[in-house]
């Protein structure tokens, strides 16, 4: 009896401990997570920081001195480049190891290893679209160049030296929460980060939607609604700029082709209305006589941030700015001679080809009038607590067949042949983007900038530039395929060699402009050029709204200083509203309105067209425009079971302003024939009634900042680890394109001159540890539209009150 009692007690205790040490679904092992010796309490950083710290690390050639400033931003001083990138890897890992790990897992389709079947679809998608295949090719390019090989290997060694010294109690919090261990960093992980960026910025496609549009509406309507050049435009390279080169012959168009229906497939869409800005003004426009450069790249906002601020200094370089955690170099920044920044180019560098297989074994496909062998690539996806999934991906010469059996309903009369869609994507090609940044970091002048750009493949960026030689320039740059016009606007026939990419636009013939007469350069993702540029880059770009506002402001600007640039980055003025509101208001007649509609009308009539945080007019206009746009297109483009691409705001604007009697205003589901006036009036009623229904009478509850949900989440969406919803101005399509969880991920302004001064801020903090005082210490500065003056030390011994800690590695 006594034994039974004792055994029962022991068994219960053992069971309790086992249960507390086990992960159940998404619940972490409670005992392991909560105990104060190894659990999360260990991640609580003390407010008392050491003034100096010395660490012995294997593999360093010399001593490295790192100064941490008041935002805990490291300023690295190394005696040679190897040690510089080693130290960059080390300090970045120390602050952001989990972020680095989870991002490379996502890119390489390895999330299911730690999370389980929940992420299997995402992993499969990344494997099948060739992320690993692309990263392997890019790694070849990196390793073939001795400069980038040494750099990436040193960075990798630095990350690993940090990982090796970690005890389980030191693991970043998220490892404890998800119950897995950090693994060795590999050079290919640096390439995975580039692939992830390519996926975000150049991984979307309209081709499926456009192909479905073509089937449904025919070529005449599609050409009318989806023109190759927009109604309103203010291109990046100013109209009238001379090209100054003899273009290569343009490839001949292929024979007409209609792809089979692509119902049921929804690829990653291109999200309009978000985007990045950059501009630089010449010395003539600035108060100091030297150029000023500004850049705010827009991305999904997360804690930890996508950017990691750092200063890198060695005998060959001294550069300041932001890096991508997990990759060497500064991506956006400045040195004592030049500054540069980037926005995305909406180039068409991703094309889908319909593949015709010989039979259901899918081992051969039809190309150039013969059967060609398919290559197979096996992807093994390990799944937590489950058997690994083995996925065979077919590769044609174009690339992976991401969607093997897109097509369940072949078009009438077509043979019963299995089809799929192969992906040709620039991110699959061998490349060496890090060499571009290696050179930019060391750049001294315009020639160095131009040389650096030749190494950049993808995702194509509008590289803006300013120098102490008082040069300013911008180049939509990347490796652009040489195409016939509209090649890739619709799904292409994969059997016709004329549809393959026929080579490349020579890098020195990429659109570029240096010191234009207007005294500034700028970009906001809009069309790279006007139609006079001899090559085809894409039929669609981000719309002109932000670009137009930037150019209007800069054209009028004189004696500008850093603050003028900062204020512009926070500008909320809507060009869309400027274009359409006067016309829309003209159709309204207050005699037929309800009391609420009349009071909304009086508010919007005097609205200043700024999406300010407290603006009520902004809320009314925004809702009105959304209802108007929906009423015009929903009955035609919102078709159950078929994915169609909607016409742009730009095209809708043209319809409103110039075609009031267009057939597109007629709502097909009503017997009456509607015109522009009907739609404008009814959309206003609906918009106001909806707002009244949701938020009561027109008044302070209608303020834009309260209506628009703005937030920054933790990368794993952990409740309590983000900002929660906060009130903010801005919207897609205005310079301050902040909406939901997407917006300016880094704001930077650089005043060139003998004593270069940089200003910048990103939403969040330098540390990725939620238990750090530097996890979100820059958020409020960012939210208030302020910038931090960036500490740029000329030497490790330069005194600065802002230096709080010194870390010595040897």
């Amino acid at each position: 009896m006594k034994f039974i009692k004792a055994l029962l007690s022991i068994a219960f205790t053992a069971l309790l401990i086992w249960a507390l040490d086990c992960k159940f679904g998404a619940i972490p092992p409670i005992g392991a997570f909560l105990n104060p010796s190894t659990g999360f309490w260990q991640n609580a950083e003390s407010k008392n920081i050491l003034a100096t710290e010395n660490l012995k690390l294997p593999g360093l050639l010399d001593k490295v001195i790192i100064k941490y400033d008041d935002n805990r931003i490291p300023h690295i001083f190394a005696q040679n480049d190897h040690d510089l990138y080693y130290a960059q890897g080390f300090v970045t890992a120390r602050d952001r190891l989990w972020e680095m790990d989870i991002q490379t897992r996502e890119a390489s389709g390895r999330l299911s290893e730690i999370i389980g079947p929940k992420t299997l679809d995402l992993d499969r998608y990344h494997r099948r679209m060739g992320m690993v295949y692309g990263a392997e090719n890019t790694l070849k390019g990196i390793m073939a160049n001795p400069v980038t090989r040494v750099m990436v290997n040193a960075y990798t060694d630095g990350v690993n030296s940090y990982i090796h010294q970690l005890a389980p109690k030191d693991y970043p919090l998220e490892f404890k929460l998800l119950d897995y261990e950090p693994e060795e960093w590999k050079p290919i992980n640096c390439a995975f980060l580039l692939k992830l960026m390519s996926e975000t910025l150049a991984g979307g496609s309209d081709q499926f939607g456009m192909t479905n549009n073509l089937k449904r509406f025919g070529i005449k309507d599609v050409n009318d609604l989806f023109p190759d050049y927009p109604f309103n435009e203010d291109p990046i390279i100013p109209v009238g700029t001379k090209w100054g080169f003899k273009p290569l012959p343009i490839p001949k168009s292929s024979a007409g082709f209609m792809a089979q229906m692509t119902e049921g497939i929804k690829t990653k869409e291109i999200t309009p209305g978000v985007g990045s800005n950059n501009w630089a003004i010449s010395g003539d426009k600035s108060v100091t006589g030297y150029p000023i450069l500004a850049n705010d790249p827009h991305l999904n906002l997360t804690f930890p941030s996508i950017w990691y601020q750092v200063q890198l200094s060695s005998p060959t370089v001294n550069v300041n700015g932001v890096s991508l955690p997990g990759a060497p170099c500064i991506i956006i920044g400045y040195n004592q001679n030049i500054s540069w920044g980037v926005t995305n180019v909406d180039a068409d560098v991703l094309d889908w080809y319909q593949v015709k297989f010989k039979d259901s074994s899918k081992s051969e496909y039809w190309y150039n009038n013969q059967w060609v062998k398919v290559k197979k690539r096996i992807e093994v996806i390990n799944v937590l607590d489950h058997k690994p999934l083995i996925d065979t991906v077919l590769y044609t010469h174009q690339g992976p067949v991401v969607y093997e059996s897109a097509d369940k309903k072949p078009a009438k009369g077509s043979e019963n042949i299995p089809v799929g869609n192969a992906l040709r994507w620039i991110a699959h090609d061998e490349s060496d983007e890090f060499m571009c940044f290696h050179l930019l970091n060391r750049g001294k002048n315009y020639a160095d900038y131009r040389k650096a750009l030749t190494y950049f493949t993808a995702p194509a960026q509008n590289f803006i530039f300013a120098s102490n030689d008082k040069d300013i320039a911008i180049t939509p740059n990347g490796k652009f395929p040489l195409k016939f016009k509209d090649q890739g606007k619709f799904i292409l026939d994969g059997s016709d060699p004329a549809n393959d990419w026929q080579g490349w636009i020579p890098t020195d013939q990429n659109p570029t402009v240096k010191n234009p007469p207007r005294g500034f350069v700028s970009s906001a993702n809009q069309s790279s050029t006007d139609p006079s540029y001899p090559y085809y880059i894409n039929w669609r770009f981000e719309q002109y709204y932000r670009g137009k506002r930037i150019n209007d402001k800069l054209a009028a600007m004189h004696k500008a200083n850093v603050d003028s640039m900062r204020l512009m980055q926070m500008d909320n003025y809507s060009i869309l509203a400027q274009d359409v509101l006067p016309t829309m208001l003209k159709y309204l007649d207050t005699t037929k309105m309800s009391a609420e509609q009349i009071s909304a009308f009086h508010i919007i009539k005097i609205w200043d067209k700024h999406y300010a945080v407290n603006s009520i007019g902004a809320t009314i206009f925004d809702n009105w425009w959304n209802h108007f746009y929906g009423m015009v297109w929903d009955d035609k483009f919102n078709v159950k079971g078929t994915y169609l691409k909607y016409p742009s705001y730009d095209r809708t604007e043209k319809l409103l302003l110039t075609e009031p009697n267009s057939k597109w205003f007629d709502i097909s589901t009503t017997p009456a024939k509607e015109t522009c006036a009907d739609i404008v009036i009814h959309s206003f009623y609906n918009a106001v009634d909806e707002l009244v229904h949701k938020h009561g009478q027109p008044g302070s509850k209608w303020q834009w900042g309260l209506i628009k949900e703005t937030y920054i989440n933790h990368l794993a969406n952990l409740p309590g680890f983000g900002t929660g919803i906060f009130a903010a101005g801005g919207r897609g399509g205005v310079i301050n394109a902040l909406r939901n969880g997407n917006g300016p991920s880094w704001r930077m302004v650089v005043q060139m001159g003998p004593n270069v001064k940089g200003y910048g801020v990103f939403p969040g903090g330098e540390s990725g540890n939620p238990g750090s005082f530097y996890y979100d210490d820059m958020f409020t500065t960012w939210k208030n539209g302020q910038l931090n003056e960036l500490l740029f030390l000329r030497s490790p011994t330069e005194p600065s009150v802002r230096v709080k800690t010194t870390l010595v590695l040897n």
């Binding site: 507390l20 407010k47 309590g720």
Partner: protein, 112 residues
């Protein structure tokens, strides 16, 4: 006495051994010097409860509890770090107490 020994062993072991070593410490200590089951349980419970509270506060106070205030939001608890501290200490206490109880019960089973 038992309380003190478990207290010292829990303090010492935590930093370099897995968290459940406190259970072995309490079990062995109670096996050798435990008296009654109730006394052993409460000695083990209070020793680990106190050790875990002190160790957690040792990290959390210089942190102004910013981490614990975030982590508590992952649990179905009121949004105050004190609740997380209480749960932490209770879990440690129960494990310590049960291990000590097991130790003394085993000792009694062997005793004639």
């Amino acid at each position: 006495m038992l309380f003190l020994i478990v207290l010292i062993l829990s303090f010492a072991s935590g930093y370099f051994l897995p968290w459940w070593v406190v259970a072995i410490a309490a079990f062995l200590a109670a096996f050798f010097i435990g008296k009654t089951p109730a006394h052993s349980f409460w000695s083990g419970f209070s020793a680990v409860f106190i050790v875990w509270t002190v160790l957690a506060l040792f990290k959390s106070i210089p942190n102004n509890h910013i981490l614990a205030d975030r982590v508590v939001q992952l649990f179905p608890l009121p949004h105050n770090w004190l609740w997380l501290l209480l749960i932490t200490a209770l879990i440690g206490g129960i494990v310590g107490g049960m291990a000590a109880l097991s130790g003394v019960l085993l000792k009694r089973a062997f005793a004639k």
